[in-house]
Symmetry: C2
Subunit: 447 residues, 2 copies
């Protein structure tokens, strides 16, 4: 099992809820499995108080779709545990996704009910992808959305993703990737560097200082091996003494010092003054220690050069999942025509019908609304930007959405979409979505 990048990764086909396959079995039995169907992934609402969401995971999802196959090991498991019957096993053995995938580009902003990803195929094919599609989008979008706010709070100062240890080891790679898409400068996660060509960086930990007989020994060891451009961790014992020692050892070209505890605001001022008084005006100050977008904003006036962000980033800063759902919105009827469908019980009701979407921009190019067309493209006034991109047609992946190129394009897309937003999008205070979602339905729209 080797992907294009040569990296061995497991198949994705059993990242799937049991019921997806039993529904497949029952639908194969009834014959309805072969009806052409459209499923859409969207979020009914944003996390409480957020102004916008950021689409994350699309590229990773498309990479994983290539590995969504049922081999001997998966089929044997399903047979041994009688999850599905022989007819279904035979269908799964032949399965390779052959449908269409389209939706919002990765890095794009989204709002309540934005049709983020659509899968168009038979019910059978689209149904069994549900769990995997949602896992990827819900996780990566949650991280990208939190990361984007941190980037806004940090202004022109670089943010470094350092949260790997606070989340599942594979989530860490995906979180690192999502953070970079939202504007993070680099990551500490080496696996993300390997898979996506993202820049990796690091400083040193307290253990390195404690390993040596003295802090001085540790600093000398680090500078001797890494060069004076390295960043020394100065808060193991006494910060002032450590900064003086660091400058004495590394000289005026000392790259940086890191503060990882205590009152970062006060310390940053003290350390900056001390470094300057010692002549180290170019030595940078990196702060870490449970930073989130609010803590970053609170340090805006402090002489800080970069932020290392960990726990809050990888846990979505209070919103660890994006709450996206994946709903059947249209399917073939007995006559071969498409029929819009939706759950209609009073709770969790959805809007049926295949969606299109535009972002309405005013004359100055600033977004004013998210236009969602039901079964038709919304009427455009000329300043609107189409949002739906084609990722896969007839099971064939379109170029540019995956791997390293996918990350680079998503990063650009995110920056461009943010630039279109009204100023309120960049406020950290809780509020409503910064632009409204408006539905558009043609008078005699087909389904």
């Amino acid at each position: 099992m080797t992907t294009a990048s040569g990296w061995g990764q497991p198949r994705t086909s059993l990242f799937t809820d049991h019921y997806e396959l039993t529904m497949l079995q029952a639908a194969l039995h009834s014959g309805a499995a072969h009806r052409r169907s459209v499923f859409e992934a969207f979020a009914r609402r944003l996390p409480d108080g957020r102004r916008y969401g950021v689409v994350g995971g699309t590229g990773r999802l498309l990479e994983g779709l290539e590995r969504f196959r049922f081999g001997a090991q998966e089929l044997d498991f399903l047979a041994r545990n009688a999850v599905v019957n022989d007819e279904t096993l035979a269908w799964l053995a032949d399965f390779k996704f052959s449908g269409n995938v389209y939706g919002y580009a990765e890095g794009e902003l989204y709002f309540p009910n934005s049709p983020i990803l659509s899968i168009e195929s038979t019910f059978a094919e689209a149904c069994i992808l549900e769990t995997y599609v949602l896992s990827v989008l819900n996780h990566d979008s949650a991280i990208a959305s939190a990361a984007s706010r941190m980037i806004t709070a940090a202004g022109s100062r670089p943010c470094i993703e350092m949260g790997s240890r606070r989340t599942h080891e594979e989530s860490a790679v995906a979180a690192s990737r999502a953070a970079v898409i939202a504007g993070f400068h680099s990551t500490s996660n080496l696996e993300c560097g390997l898979r996506y060509g993202v820049l990796t960086q690091g400083t040193a930990a307290h253990s390195f200082t404690l390993l040596h007989n003295t802090e001085e020994d540790a600093f000398r060891a680090q500078v001797a091996s890494m060069g004076s451009g390295t960043t020394l961790l100065v808060d193991t014992y006494d910060v002032e003494a450590a900064v003086r020692k660091a400058v004495e050892i590394a000289g005026p070209s000392l790259g940086g010092v890191r503060l990882d505890s205590g009152d970062l605001l006060a310390q940053a001022h003290e350390v900056r003054a001390l470094l300057d008084s010692l002549g180290n005006v170019n030595t940078r100050i990196t702060v870490t220690s449970d930073l989130d977008e609010f803590a970053i904003a609170a340090l805006a006036a402090a002489p800080v050069d970069s932020y290392g962000v960990g726990t809050s980033l990888v846990t979505g800063s209070g919103a660890p999942t994006a709450s996206m759902v994946y709903k059947l919105v249209s399917r073939e009827g007995d006559d071969g025509e498409f029929v819009s469908v939706a759950k209609s019980a009073k709770n969790k009701a959805s809007v049926g019908g295949k969606k299109q979407a535009l972002r309405r921009l005013n004359a100055r190019g600033i977004a004013t609304a998210e236009l969602v067309g039901i079964g038709t493209m919304p009427e455009s006034d000329g300043n609107d930007r189409p949002l739906i991109q084609e990722f896969m047609a007839g099971g064939v992946l379109a170029p540019g959405w995956t791997g390293r190129e996918g990350v680079e394009r998503a990063t650009e897309r995110h920056a461009a979409s943010m630039a279109e937003m009204p100023g309120a999008a960049r406020r950290l205070q809780r509020g409503e979505p910064v632009i409204p979602t408006e539905y558009f339905q043609a008078a005699a729209a087909p389904n």
Copy 2:
């Protein structure tokens, strides 16, 4: 790359922060890399208001340690990006963990500063494992800790893990495994079934109903294919009409109905009464829809037979990471003797020295304190239970901690440890850790 179970999974060696390897390089340069060292993973505090934590991930961590090797692909990446120098690359190429790993059994409860996992080796070997060790323990323990409270709230009713779609696809497998350890009856996650032999289960989604021309067609299709023991989803349109139709189609042996929206408390009573009036006294009611431990507790008096739990479980019910840290606590000095070490700056200070731990039990076998011995075993009064288990000695894995057997043993361990706890551990209200952590140090303790 094939594990014992035959399942291809990636190497774990680059689930690692950049600085672990640059510290290794600097320590190889200074010579200190070869000092014998003890690192400990522990949580300084529990998530706000929680009474206890549950150790999760130990088995998974030990499985991954076997794959913590640097092959051509990893070494090439590190060389190409100049992450470390040639001396370090040569060391990594030969690396296979050769030290000792010991700590709390998976499923065991923990409290602030419980020494959950210790790694004893050279600094070089123990340092580079930091990120991976913490990723696994922080994620899986967060889920196990949340799951345990849900199990308490559910009493004798089974809980089914259904959260895969709300978290990263690999986190979902780990979350499912952790939930089962904490007492969940089964999971919807097929990959967890494959890897760990855990029971998988499922019902049906709204899309299955919407796919068919009528709800009746959908129910008939499901019952025809899955048998009358299946569970039908009855809230797509009108719950009462759906329940009547379900009973009409499946008869008295209908296995169950699922409610996924609306006022679950009121609906459970209505549906139970309706089922009973139709003679379906053995048809079970499963409820789902954003349940957490509080919602489960609120349904205690409702006629509900099982709970399907998703989002709240896989996001740790408000605490998505366990905040564990991994600290160097003791290392060899120039004279070959071990020296206790700890960060001493005013914030994030740690207690140095290699730890031992006992759970103090009173005469009735109920836990009264967590005793942590610094550099020595705490004095026991005879009713204490030793907590430290050996997982790996000289790089060799002890039997019984990994794979399916590891999950089974951890499940038993968790139930037994919960049974020892005072009643306050089972309260959902916010409070202090249910037993205090007490340090013990011998008068003339060695380090």
